[in-house]
């Protein structure tokens, strides 16, 4: 039987290839994603292990809870204790902060998401960086720069440059150019500057602090021994002692959680969509080929093939197609990963360079999904093939019997739709954790897609009936024929269209969703901000130097400059922002949207009262008058009483307290200032004031001055980037569905060979024939496009409504929808090219004699 399957596949090469492509692209994406993220994962491990290769033991602060955006520091004086521990040969404090060097007026900072680091320079015996020119910085005012910066800026050893620090721009001199480890890996796209410890401490308000204490063992002392000795020497419970390797692995895994995993799950989600679309196409292709092979199966049954053997023939075919497609997909996945890697580099988010890794897990997952989905999608068609009675071999014009399953389709589809809707509602409103909510939401959406695909056959005829009118007007008799062909087998047209529906539906959905995100932000700026100019800290988690506020206040034309600061904090084990405001001025620059409370409540905050954002209050079941305990990342904690609740999921999203109450909860290096909202006097021009503030803050490189319009633009541009990425990823699914249209057309032309011969013999021109096929494709793609748009709008609306409390608002994307519909028509035309050409090429005589 296997031989038979193989022979069948090789005879139907084009069909087999088109079917394989449907699943191949999805597998490519899965394996590509896994290869890429394995690479990212390994790169992080390699980088941190190289960084710690000279270090035996690391001592660091243990934060009360983990916040990936906040660096924590420990008392640098602990180094004396560490040095005194048995087996320690060398121990030094080390600090890492964010900052960058400015060469000839040009900032050498990261443009992508990766941070720009300043590291304190430790001795050569501990330092992962080594000079390739000059030396390591030792005296105050000296720095060394990574070779990547030197290449980019053409800065030389001995050159005087400036360093952007939290405390302003400092003049420094380059004394060395360094490389990381053996120079084979780079730290992502990051730009690193080394400076003496004392400068880093002074310029980043970290006097007496260190990020880590590094220790090196005497000869013959193992890492674990040294770790035990240091641990014994340090009675403090709030410090962690790890070996260099443990620390490297932990840092790698933290970074991987932050970057690698997000990339992995996001890409896998889109790969999943591609696979789902592929499954529809495989299902359809197998349904069609099984119908076309009815006589063949019947003959096999009469000469003694059992039902099981027929099932085996069809499923075996699926198995082979799935296997071949998966293997090719894995290979293409490597190319895909390589391409994405290059792409990341181009958009300024360079990933650490290591080779491509094809792990056995990648191969196993790709094969399991590729083969599994193909086989699964072929099961229903295969079961129908087993229902073919042997007697069909002896009769003319037999058609596939209608299965029991088929008669139940509408009922089943409705059950599936209800389940899907329930899943979506649960995903939107339940208070389970985010992962399970997202999964149920996605599962619900998939079920609804499936249900609509099952029901779509019932709308094919009416829709084609409507479309036939304009099409016949435009294309004449050929259009009429095309309409009839499209309606001839509604199930086939429906499933083909459904594959496109998924892609278009998701495109519409992300358009609405991302548009909602943008709207929520711009809406918040429009509704909540009374100020026209905002000063923020550049880079994530940054604080502004305290001097910024006074500098802004001194600018002529500035009426109010209201400071806002904050820290990461936890309440009831959940992380939130604790926001400190100036009660006297905040209501001049910011309009609270009160649920319970008033601006008077702000004035009377004092040191023990807090305002709570409404969604958070709901989550934590807090109402005015309730008390709650806040644990700040600094280790300090405080108790507050709720003085009011307000709604703002965007700007002041967290707990609002008086600056004075925030102060004791901050880490020593934090200034309690990260934003200044600025209003101008009635007689001054906002643009002039903004320019003046900008000028006044020249000395503070981390301060960023923006008008409200600029803030909105920044959000719009990052939102557009996200949209473009989403579109690109969904384009793959749309492409797969185009293969589906091609496949269905090729198959239906094949079975209508004689009919096409007849049409040609009675005077249909090749051009008309091509037009007919094209219109068939367009009808299919319009059905898919319209269904997709409807579902996309429904999903978008549901999700926006469900997340209203998080600030998402529903905006109807009229222009985009028109564009998408036009694009789906174009897609249909493109998909028809190959099948139309094949149909037109058929020799009239041969076609007429075709059996």
């Amino acid at each position: 039987m296997i031989g038979l399957v193989l022979r069948g596949l090789s005879t139907r090469k084009l069909r087999s290839a088109l079917t394989a492509i449907a699943i191949l692209l999805g597998v490519t994406m899965i394996s590509g994603t896994l290869v890429l993220t394995d690479q990212i994962d390994r790169a992080f491990v390699q980088i941190f292990q190289q960084g710690n290769s000279k270090i035996n033991v690391v001592v660091k602060q243990k934060p009360p809870f983990k916040d990936p955006q906040t660096e924590v520091f420990l008392n640098a004086e602990l180094v004396t204790t560490v040095r005194a521990a048995d087996g320690v040969w060398l121990a030094e404090p080390f600090i890492q902060v964010q900052g960058y060097v400015i060469v000839d007026g040009e900032a050498m900072d990261q443009t992508g998401g990766a941070p720009s680091f300043v590291f304190s320079s430790v001795s050569e015996q501990l330092n992962p960086y080594s000079p390739i020119d000059g030396r390591l910085p030792t005296a105050s005012g000296e720095i060394a720069i990574a070779k990547e910066i030197a290449t980019k800026s053409k800065a030389k050893v001995g050159q005087a440059v400036t360093l952007a620090t939290q405390d302003g721009i400092k003049p420094v001199k380059i004394v060395g150019i360094v490389q990381y480890g053996d120079g084979s890996t780079s730290l992502g796209g990051s730009t690193t500057v080394l400076a003496p410890l004392i400068d880093v401490q002074n310029w980043w308000s970290l006097q007496g602090k260190a990020s880590y204490i590094y220790a090196k063992a005497k000869d013959g002392v193992s890492d674990d021994e040294l770790k035990a000795n240091v641990r014994a020497a340090l009675p403090q419970t709030d410090v962690i002692v790890q070996t260099g390797k443990e620390d490297a692995d932990e840092q790698a895994s933290v970074l991987n959680d932050l970057i690698g995993k997000i990339i992995r799950y996001a890409l896998l989600a889109f790969a999943g969509v591609a696979v789902l679309v592929g499954a529809f196409i495989i299902y359809n292709t197998f349904s069609i080929t099984v119908a076309q092979r009815t006589r063949e199966f019947a003959m096999l049954r009469t000469i003694g093939a059992s039902r099981r053997q027929i099932l085996g023939t069809v499923v075996g075919e699926a198995f082979i197609i799935g296997s071949v497609a998966s293997i090719i997909g894995i290979g293409l996945g490597m190319v895909f990963a390589w391409g994405l890697n290059k792409l990341f580099g181009v958009i300024g988010f360079g990933l650490p360079a290591t080779g491509l890794i094809l792990s056995w897990q990648t191969v196993a997952v790709s094969l399991a999904v590729g083969v599994g989905i193909t086989v699964l999608a072929s099961i229903f068609p295969a079961l129908r093939a087993t229902k073919i009675a042997p007697i069909a071999a002896l009769r003319e014009g037999v058609t596939l019997p209608v299965g029991r399953f088929q008669k139940l389709t509408p009922a089943l589809a409705i059950v599936i739709a209800v389940l899907g809707a329930a899943g979506m509602v649960f995903g939107l409103i339940s208070d389970a954790d985010t992962t399970s909510r997202l999964l149920t939401l996605a599962g619900g959406a998939i079920l609804i897609f499936v249900a609509v695909a099952m029901l779509a056959r019932f709308i094919v005829r009416p829709v084609v009936g409507v479309l036939a009118v304009p099409i016949t007007k435009v294309a004449g008799g050929v259009g009429k024929l095309a309409s009839e062909n499209a309606a001839r087998n509604p199930a086939r047209t429906a499933v083909t269209a459904a594959a496109l529906m998924i892609g278009i539906g998701l495109v519409v959905f992300v358009t609405i969703f991302v548009g909602g995100l943008r709207e929520s932000f711009t809406g918040a700026i429009d509704n909540s901000l009374k100020s026209d100019v905002t000063v923020t800290a550049r880079g994530f988690g940054g604080s502004l130097p305290a001097g910024v506020l006074d500098a802004v206040r001194a600018v002529p034309g500035v009426e109010t400059a209201s400071p806002v600061g904050g820290t990461a904090a936890q309440v009831d084990g959940q992380s939130f922002a604790l926001i400190g405001v100036d009660p006297k001025t905040i209501t001049d620059v910011y309009a609270f949207d009160w649920n319970d409370g008033s601006n008077e409540a702000v004035q009377s905050l004092g040191t023990d009262r807090a305002l709570v954002e409404n969604a958070i209050a709901t989550t934590l079941k807090l109402a005015t008058g309730d008390s709650f305990k806040v644990q700040a990342i600094s280790g300090a904690s405080a108790t507050f009483t709720v003085a009011g609740t307000y709604t703002d999921p965007t700007i002041l999203n967290g707990f609002v307290v008086d600056q004075a109450a925030l102060e004791p909860l901050l880490q020593s290096n934090a200034t309690g200032l990260n934003t200044v909202f600025v209003t101008e006097t009635p007689d001054s021009n906002p643009d002039t004031v903004q320019a003046a503030v900008d000028e006044a803050l020249k000395g503070y490189p981390t301060a960023q001055v923006q008008s409200n319009a600029q803030q909105k633009e920044e959000v719009a541009s990052s939102v557009n980037t996200i949209l473009v990425i989403f579109y690109a990823l969904l384009a793959l699914s749309v492409m797969i569905s185009l293969f589906g249209i091609v496949n269905t057309l090729v198959l239906s032309i094949f079975e209508r060979t004689r009919e096409i011969g007849m049409l040609r013999s009675v005077g249909t021109t090749r051009r008309q024939l091509r037009a007919m096929i094209r219109w068939e494709a367009v009808i299919t793609s319009i059905i898919g496009g319209v269904l997709g748009v409807i579902l996309g709008i429904m999903f978008g609306w549901a999700v926006c409504k469900g997340l209203e409390s998080e600030g998402l608002s529903f905006v109807f994307p009229t222009v985009q929808i028109v564009i998408f519909l036009v694009l789906s028509i174009v897609a249909g035309i493109v998909a028809a090219i190959l099948p139309a050409r094949r149909a037109a090429k058929l020799d009239v005589l041969e076609a007429l004699q075709y059996e």
Binding site: M1, L4, R7, R295, E296, L300, I303, S306, R307
Partner: protein
């Protein structure tokens, strides 16, 4: 040598391969009821080539379908090589067809992607038992297509394809071969090649063949000719010439 049996009691030959008793097949109900078979009893002894004739709608195809286990009678019984078909489930019927029945179809029904040789071997492959090589060689020789065995059906003429189909039916040495208009899709020259092969299957290889046909010249090679009309056997004759057959058909219409 012809005998009218419509009035004689039904007697089963001792070496009968296929025995049908009192078969009826009714389609539809009430006013629209159609009796495709109306109390047919007939038996076919081993080593006989029988032709079943009759006008369209006489029930001859239905009879063959039921005898071959492809369709179920409304009532009556069928024994194939001693096995009662009534009550067999799909699996058992499949095995019966595989092991005891061969088929020759009007439209050949060869698989286009397999060579002639592979098509011949197909039923044995499905059954998972190796063909007897000597027997296979004999059959291939009998088809006269020894040199064309590596060709695909599309490269063979209709008559050649049908000879391959006959060889396919014979390879497993079934108890009986059913032919469904085996010459219905062939011209007279190629028909005679196929008929000669069927004749040889019976004479030399001792096979039993029951074929439904419209074609008087095909029926003329048979040892026995059955005529059906309105679901009943109206004449059960021995060997008839083409002329005699045509005469009988005229009286039936």
């Amino acid at each position: 040598m012809s005998t009218e049996i419509t009035s004689t009691p039904f007697a089963v030959a001792a070496d009968a391969v296929v025995v049908a008793t009192d078969l009826t097949k009714i389609y539809g109900e009430g006013d629209s009821e159609v009796r495709a078979l109306d109390g047919v009893s007939v038996s076919f002894p081993k080593g006989q080539l029988a032709a079943v004739m009759g006008p369209s709608g006489s029930g001859k195809s239905t009879l063959m379908h039921i005898l071959a286990g492809l369709d179920h009678p409304t009532s009556g019984s069928v024994l194939v090589d001693g096995t009662e078909l009534a009550g067999l489930n799909d699996q058992k019927l499949t095995l019966l067809r595989r092991d005891k029945i061969g088929f020759v179809f009007q439209f050949f029904n060869l698989l286009p992607m397999l060579t002639a040789k592979e098509n011949i071997e197909l039923p044995m492959k499905i059954a998972g038992s190796p063909p007897d090589p000597e027997w296979q060689a004999t059959l291939v020789e009998a088809t006269g297509l020894s040199t064309r065995m590596t060709h695909k059906p599309a490269e063979l003429s209709g008559g050649q394809q049908q000879r391959v189909a006959v060889a396919r039916a014979l390879l497993s040495k079934p108890a009986v071969i059913f032919g469904d208009e085996p010459t219905g899709n062939l011209d007279s020259k190629t028909s005679s090649e196929v008929l000669a092969l069927l004749r040889r299957a019976v004479d030399e290889f001792g096979q039993t063949v029951i074929m439904v046909t419209h074609d008087a010249s095909a029926a003329a090679i048979a040892d026995r000719t059955l005529f059906l009309r309105d679901g009943k056997i109206v004449r059960d004759a021995g060997h008839l010439s083409a002329g005699e057959i045509l005469d009988t058909i005229k009286t039936l219409e």
